[in-house]
Amino acid sequence: MQSGIATARKEMSQGALALFFSAPAVLIIAATILVPFGMAVFLSLHNWNLKRPGRERFVGLENYSDWLSDSDFWVPLRTTFTFAILAVAVIIIIALLISLLLNERFPGRGVLRALLLVPWAIPSVVNALLWKWLLNPQYGLVNALFFEFGIITEYQNMLGSMPSVMIWLVIAYSWIHIPLATLLLLSGLQTIPGDIYESAIVDGASIWQRFLYITLPLLRPMLSIVVIFEMIFAFKVFDIIFVLTAGGPADATNVLGWQIYTETFRKLDFGAGSSIAMLLGAITLALAILFYVFLDKGVEQ
C-alpha cells in the first residue's frame, strides 16, 4: 500500500516537473496563438471600426450574418475556390510527376533534387516580385519569349484581364509550392517496398497498371497530407495577390485573404475583417476535415 502511494507521489512529482518544464512553451503558445485568436473572435462579435472611436459595441453574430448575405463574401469565396482548386491540381499533378522521376535511379539525381529546393527557399514575396518582372507588359521576359516564338504579335498585359490573370497567378503560386509537395511525395514513394513492384512485373503488370494499382494506393496517405496542406495554403493566399494584382483587375483576383486585408487594414473595420477571417478559418478547417475523412477512408479500403 505504502509502496503504491510512494509510486503515485513519484509519478505526480514527475508530472509536476513535466508541467514546470513545458510551462514556458505553453505560455508562449497561449500568448502568440490563443490570445490573438481570442481577440479576433472578440472583435468579430463587435462593431469595431477604428475610424469611429467610441462607437464600439457588441453586435453578436451580426457581422457574420451580414457577410453571409453579402456578395462581397460570396464572390471572393468563389474566386478563392477557383484559385485553390486550380493551384492544388497543378501542384499535385506536377509534384507527382517530378517525384516519380526523382524516385528512379539516374545520373545527376542528387543535383536535381537539390535544385528542386531553390524555388522553395525563395521568400514568397520575392517570388511574387520575380514574377511581376517576368510578366511586365513592357519589358517582361514572358512577353519577349512569346513574341520571339510568334505566340503573340504585340506585348500583352498578362495580368490585365481574365482568364489570363488567374492562369498566371496559379503558375506563379505553384512554382514556389511544387518543391515541398514533391519532397513529401518522394518520401512517400520511398516507403513503398520494391519487392511489390518486382512481383507485379513478374505477373506481367504494365507501368500504368503498376502506377494505378500499387503506387497510387500506397501513396494515398502521403497524398492526402499533401492535398490537405496545399489546400489550406491556397485558401489563405495573400502575398502573391498583394504584389501582383492587388485583387484586380476588376476584382477578378479578389480572394478572401485580400478581402480580409481590405476590410481590416484599408477600411479599418476590424469587426468586419475579423468575422470574415473567422469564416475563412472555418471553411478551411471544414475542408481539411472533409479531405481527411475522404482520403482516410480511401486508405482503409
Binding site: 492587388a246 485583387g247 476588376a250 476584382d251
Partner: protein
Amino acid sequence: MLRSCKFFAFLSLCILLLTTPALAQDDGLKLTGWPYEVDVVTENLGRFTDQTGHDAVFLPFPSNEYHDKMVASFVAGTEFDVAYVRDSYLAEWASAGWILPITGLPNSEELLADLPQGIIEQMSYDGEVYGLPYYSGVQTMAYNEAHLAAAGIDAPPETWVEMLEQAQMIKDAGVVDYPILMQLRSGENYLLREWETLTASRGGRLFDDDFNPVFHLDDSPARQALDWLTEGLDAGLIDPASLTDDDGTLLMAAGTTSFMTTTDYTLKAMNDPEQSNVAGDIKNALVPGTDEVRSGTWGYVRLYSITANAADKDAAWQLVQFLGGKDATGVYYVPKRWALEFGLGFSPAPLYEDEEVRNSISGWIDPDLLSEQSEYAISRPYRFVPFFSDWEIGSWGPLQAAILGDADKGQVLSDLADEWNELKDDWGY
C-alpha cells in the same frame, strides 16, 4: 549552481549596460513618412538638431504600404512624433484623433498667412488645420515631344478626342505600341485620381457641394470619361499596362509612352538624364479638355502633422515648423531645398518670388503653363469626409470592370452612387 547564477546575473548586467545608450537615443523626435530621398531628409534633420538641440530621426515606411502601416502604428501606440500625411486620408486620421491640429499654436497664424487659401482648406478637417505643407501641386499632362514630331504632329492635343487621334498617328508611325498611359490600377494614387482628372477636364465633378453624387447622372462628364477610357483601351491606344502598372513615370522616362497625366514634379525625373532615356523630350501641357471646356484639373497637398502620440508636442511642433515652414534663420529652408533639388511643388508665397527657385524649375517644366494649369484646378471637398476612403476602396473593382466592358457602366455608377449615399447616411452627413 551558485556560480551559474552569478554568471547569468553578470551577463544580464552587461546586457543592461550595453543597451542603455541605445535606449537613451530613443529620446529624440521620430519623424515617419514614405522613403522619398531619405538621405536628404536625414540631412535636413541634422540641420534641425543643430539649430534647436533636439535630436530627430527619420523612420519611413514603404510608400504603397504607408497608410496601412501607419494605421497599425497608431493603433499599437507607436510613438512617432511627426508624420507625413496625404490629403486623401487626412480626414480619416483627424477624425480618429491620431493627428493634432496646429491651429492656435505659436507662429501658426504667421505661417498660414503665407499659404494660399486652397492649400489651407486641403489641410483642414472640421474647421481645424492639421499641419504645414511638405509639397503641393497640380495634376498636369506630360508628353514626349520627340514622339509627336516623329509622327508629324506639331502641338500636343487640346481635347481628349484629339489625343486619341494623335495617339493613332504615333502608333501608325511605329513610334510606340501604346502611346497613352493612364493610371487605372487599384490603389489610392491611381484609378480614382485619374477619373477625377478626366472628369474635371470635361467640366464635371464627382460630387456636388453638398456631397451628393453626380457622376451617375445621364451623360455626365464622369460617364463620358469612362467611355473615353474604354474606347482608348479597345483601340489599343491606351496601354493595357495602365490597369496594373504602379509607376507610370518610369515608362514615360523609358520612352515607351507618349502621353500621360501626372503630378507636376514628376517631370523633373522624366527630364533628368540620370533617370530618363528621353531627358529633354518630356514637356508639360495643359490637361486636354473638350470643345467647350479647357483643361480642368485638381490640386493636391502632402503635409507634416503632429501625432497624438507625440511625447513632446512642443518639440514636435518645432519640427513641423522647420520642415513645412521656416527654420531658425527665418527662411523656408526645407521647402526651398525640395523645390530646387527635386522639383517638388511648394505653397509658401515668398518662394514664388524667389529668383533662384524660378530659374531652377524652368529647366524641366514650363512654369507659365504650370501656372495656367493651376488656375483650372478644382477643389475636391468630398475627399475630406471620413468615409471617402471606404467608398473609394469599394469603387476600384467595379470601375475597372466598367472600363474593361465587363460590367454595364450605368449600373456600376448607379450602384456606386447608392453605396455613397448609404455611407453618407450612416455617418450622418
